[in-house]
Point group: C2
């Protein structure tokens, strides 16, 4: 990325200083993209193309060649469109004719490993990827081609391929699923290019149900016909996202799933204005774009919710079109330009040109996503994800993510009411992400590893309560898919005190969980405090474990602990089998203070302790026979044998230390007391104190979060009255 | 640092685009430095100053105030010099008068914790720091002061302080030691300012031995008088560095130790040209500057040899003057300018002005240190440190550091013939550095931790052979200080094949060790290969352990290993007590291949195996009762029960993977065979093979490294003849 950043500065610098030269017809970012594409495509043209008979799995030779071909076709066609040089159009035509010559003679791909085996690739999904991108290329040269060649390509390549991906594979085409979205887009896009209304209709509305066999099943053996009764692209738009653009699998998968929506959407906007796809469902495509871009930490890495490979980012190549189309079609938001500038890349179309020109005109503004609560589920009724952002000194932003969404289908984790915490250094309190090294063959062929189930999905891998050593929903997706937590409150209108609160009553049978987290920005603290109140109510006594997966180095605690001479795993199942207990403590103090250091910043968590509480210092890596797990660390606040209890903590972010300067500024936390004052059905009240004497009391109504409800609570003889879900009192 | 980089671009950009404005009298980097200083000093002036009665240890209030005072004085005086504004001179004068009013009334610092307790601070060393910097401030306003004030300050503050730091504390002043260098510089600098020849003479040559008590001892109870018979600044220049500028404690301590040399040196150059200090000992100050800057990885972090806090860097504030003076006094090397530009800071003197002007004139060139072998010891006869640098594709540089230096005094590690390996991602095969969190109070008050002795200094903490589970020199500094390894060969004139080779015959009694490492840059490999041949010759059978402390994630091995269900420490002492054995193997193969991934790059080490060899996968952290150790990892190649043996390995750096793109390029190593063909007293020959069939044979003369010696060796009937220490044959 640094490379791109520098390039960006150099180009912008040259542009700004020298003025636009007479030859420059494009703004720099666009001109650069064109030049880069030209270098690549000229290289491929020199080398010649190949259309090998399909044979290999992903990663194998024929797979990679066909994958490269779609990129080459797309790039060459775009060059023709922008330069008018016919050699590019001829190159595209020749490759397509070669495909047309062999396509119909190819049998189904010999691997036979998918519920919907493709012809070019091992699965229809990849064939659909191919057709989506090649449709764009075909569109670029369509008018240039002579009638006979068009007819040949339409009839011998594209229509057969579109039929193969739809009517010949309805189990792939007719589901509500991101695979089907690719299929719908592929069929619809080629239909738009060829002006084939039947295909467009099929793409938009699916194959009519009465044309399908009754017992057609998907890859999970579910019946295709019984699902929703709806299919096709418009149904995907209706059912794939929540009304505010959240994607139930999380942003990592959204990044992948969004491509066919955007590409077909763009073509539809051009060729079928009657559908008004950009405004469809109140502009759901724009909402999905913003949803994706906002579900990332300050450094642009997506929140690794559910099965996510960490490091995927708003600066990934796949996200370029989301930013450019978001800008072009949804309001010319100057904040998107700063992302585009750092991406250092634009789409080779009108959107990319507009973005590049706007950046050149110095319109870019920093991208500053606000606090936001996303709903989950097509109706927005299945919980969601809340994101709080608060500013501290030195322009630092702290970001809190709380997850109370639905299960997220097969990629969901058992992590209800879990949170993670970020600042300008990146992750501080982390979510593990997936146990998978995507496309790294050495690790299980790049597929999900066994530890994804045994570890990454389990509750103890997340920053949430684990009760009785058992994962949420007993770690059973069939149970998880029946339920979801519910948002209780979201307050973000006061930058000084923001709240996200959610309840989950079915995570453990007969138990009610209620977590509330605040970001408090107060001048007494350099950076916002993260305040956490986690209530658990049940009738059966059980061990409560609350892990905090922190990055960095443990510096100091205010209680003694004992390290172990022999490490054994903490448990046998639900992820505990992967944890070594490095140290443990039975603290004899009211407040447990843990001070740690990460990436130049100090942190202190102060938690309310009860008699009998334990603190476990664990490290990941037990029962990991192939070194698939990272050696991450957590402290687990354990409270044995309680039926109803509440965990309270305050996390301070403070000070800094740079090994180049060796000066530790503000290395100790300032919170001296934390206590739980009241904890009833109706109200919870906590207090904490700064060492300078200032005390805060934070009061929460547990049963009524409406903004205008009036509340009264008497604490130690003082009656507090307020309206709204919470009330903060600062006593200097 | 990013902040500075951006600032740099912005300023350079503004400067380049707008042209120099009429008001600008200074180039941007210098103007910025002045402006930054002015903001700081104006703030301090507004706030007022304080000269508290000394009381606290480092980190405490009075310590920090007096420390800030020297910085404030230096900054304010420099502002007076550059702006001519008298308010700055008055501010300096007033603070100095306040010190003069109380200094003589202060007793020795009440802490009494040092072998040489100071007056302002807890140790004379800090008092000397104060006087060095305040001398510069005093120099700036000396001519502006009236005669009476000068006299008062000279007689009531500076001369008493200089006497205190010298004749009243000869155990501090008269050693050959970096503490004494500070003392010498302080006394000499104030002497130069006050034109006090007696002080200058004392600083340059020390207190005459006949004026010292016979039984005067230093902080290690060594006799001061018996050491070398020499003392003072010129003796320090003669004895602190090797003839090529290596500092026996390593670059981390050199960075600290160099300051008084440079500051007194600069003043001497101005005021006592007769001494010609810049050319003294063939320009030793310049050599030390270059030595320091070259002992860093591609990202600028110093090699953490011996006791070093990692992260200290050529971009540290303390290194600014080394770069500026190196540029100004030693040849105007344009490569130093690129370091200065990234430092984003210059000295507020003629050197800094010259650097800023040269950067502004676009003279900066990338800093590209060459391969180099430093000698150790004042005569250059006590081993040394070798650094090889070789380029691969994409402008990547690989850097190998082999250490065969003397013990390095109290800060030395028992790591003879150890190496570390870097590339553009930073450390790949790492040296642990020190077990210390400098100035982080939570960790043992910021001092060296117990684990520095029990772990960081031990041999197994380094990438070198550990025999019989015992550290080099039995982990005894008294033995270590008697011996040193010797360089055997250093060949860097061929960028394609570079060699560093050293022998150590006293590390283990009766045993000869000989390690040779090559960087081979060959088009068959994207990045240079690191080839390692480590020979051990003895008459007693013992277990040989060769650890490789790698960063990153283990991906795959070509042999099965067994992970442990219970972790216990690998041993009881010499560092082994801190290691958990996570997994182990008894491979049944001729080549042990270990494939790992770090920071976007893949690595494969292929090692020759013998029957009976084991591979241990260890993790640091056992017997670490206060979480002082990082959880670093190594694989240890163990060969039990051998008296004479040789370890051979080839490390490949290959491919890349970015989680934003999810494409693994070139993830597997290409070396398929590695073997030891010949291993005699006279010659060692190895071979290795690329999967494409190309084979390399590498022949080494073990007893004669002279460049013109002729050698002949017959392998499998083929006679090879060559001259020089080594010979490479490539067979396509």
């Amino acid at each position: 990325m640094r490379k791109y950043l520098l390039l960006f500065f150099v180009v912008i610098g040259m542009w700004s200083c020298t003025g636009k030269s007479a030859e420059s017809v494009h703004p720099p970012l666009f001109a650069e993209e064109l030049a880069r594409t030209q270098v690549q495509i000229d290289g491929f043209m020199e080398q010649g193309f190949e259309v090998p008979t399909p044979k290999d799995m992903a990663g194998g030779y024929t797979h990679e060649v066909h994958k490269q071909n779609w990129k080459t076709l797309q790039g060459a066609a775009a060059l023709y469109r922008h330069t008018g040089e016919e050699r590019y159009a001829e190159f595209v035509r020749d490759i397509l004719l070669e495909y047309a010559a062999v396509y119909r003679s190819w049998p189904i791909h010999p691997t036979d490993r998918s519920y919907a085996t493709g012809k070019i690739f091992w699965q229809c999904l990849n064939d659909a990827n191919w057709l989506v991108y090649v449709s764009l290329a075909y569109n670029d040269i369509y008018d240039w081609l002579d009638e006979a060649t068009r007819k040949k390509l339409n009839e011998e390549l594209f229509r057969p391929m579109a039929d193969f991906l739809s009517v010949e594979n309805p189990q792939f085409f007719n589901r509500i699923h991101n695979h089907s979205t690719w299929g719908n887009a592929a069929v619809g896009m080629i239909g738009l290019v060829m002006d084939d209304d039947e295909l467009v209709q099929r793409a938009l509305y699916g194959i009519p149900v009465d044309q399908l066999p009754d017992d057609l099943r998907d890859d999970d053996a579910g019946l295709i016909k019984s699902e929703t009764g709806r299919a096709g692209f418009l149904a995907q738009l209706d059912l794939s996202f929540s009304p505010d653009g959240y994607f139930t699998e999380g942003p990592y998968y959204l990044r992948y799933a969004l491509s066919p929506f955007l590409l077909f959407g763009r073509l539809l906007a051009d060729k079928r204005p009657d559908i008004n796809v950009l405004e469809y469902r109140d502009g759901i495509l724009g909402k999905a774009i913003y949803g994706m871009l906002s579900q990332a930490g300050p450094q642009g890495d997506f929140f690794p919710l559910n099965d996510s490979q960490k490091g995927m980012s708003v600066y990934a190549p796949e996200v370029v079109k989301a930013v450019d189309y978001g800008y072009f079609y949804y309001g010319k938001d100057p904040e998107l330009l700063s992302i585009a500038a750092r991406q250092g890349s634009v789409t080779l179309d009108a959107a990319g040109l507009a973005v590049a020109a706007a950046i050149d005109a110095d319109k870019a503004q920093p991208f500053r996503p606000a606090s936001v609560a996303y709903t989950d589920g097509p109706e927005g009724t299945e919980g969601g994800v809340g994101v709080l952002r608060a500013d501290g000194v030195d322009g630092q932003t702290s970001t809190l993510v709380m997850k109370y969404s639905a299960q997220g289908m097969g990629h969901g984790h058992f992590d209800k009411l879990a949170y993670s915490f970020y600042n300008e250094t990146g992750e501080v309190i982390q979510d593990y992400g997936a146990a998978r090294w995507v496309n790294i063959d050495q690790k299980g062929g790049g597929r999900y590893l066994e530890e994804n189930n045994s570890w990454a999905k389990q509750s103890v891998a997340h920053n949430t309560l684990v009760i009785g050593g058992t994962s949420h929903y007993n770690g059973d997706i069939r149970i998880g898919e029946k339920f979801h937590p519910d948002r209780y409150a979201f307050v973000a209108d006061d930058a000084g005190l923001q709240l996200i609160s959610a309840k989950a009553n079915n995570v453990y049978p007969g138990r009610e969980l209620h977590r509330s987290q605040w970001l408090l920005a107060d001048p007494a603290f350099a950076q916002p405090l993260l305040i956490d109140v986690f209530r658990s109510k049940g009738s059966v006594a059980a061990t409560h474990d609350l892990p905090t997966w922190y990055h960095g180095q443990l510096l100091q605690t205010n209680f003694p602990y004992v390290t172990r001479n022999t490490l054994v795993s903490l448990g046998e199942k639900h992820g505990y089998q992967h944890l070594w207990t490095e140290a443990s403590a039975r603290p004899d103090t009211n407040v447990l203070r843990i001070n740690f250091f990460n990436e130049g910043v100090f942190y202190t968590q102060s938690s309310v302790a009860r008699p009998g509480d334990e603190m476990l210092f664990v490290r990941l890596g037990a029962n990991d026979p192939e070194f698939n797990l990272r050696r991450d660390q957590a402290f687990i606040h354990r409270r044995p044998g309680v039926s109803t209890t509440t965990f309270v903590s305050v996390l301070e972010t403070h000070g800094d230390y740079d090994p180049r300067e060796e000066v530790a500024r503000d290395p100790y936390g300032h919170v001296t007391e934390v206590s739980l004052l009241v904890d009833s059905e109706a109200y919870t009240a906590i207090s904490f104190k700064h060492e300078n004497g200032t005390t805060w009391r934070l009061l929460l109504a547990n049963q009524d979060a409406t903004g205008n409800a009036n509340h009264e609570l008497t604490i130690n003889g003082t009656a507090y009255r307020w309206s709204g879900v919470h009330h903060l009192i600062k006593i200097d």
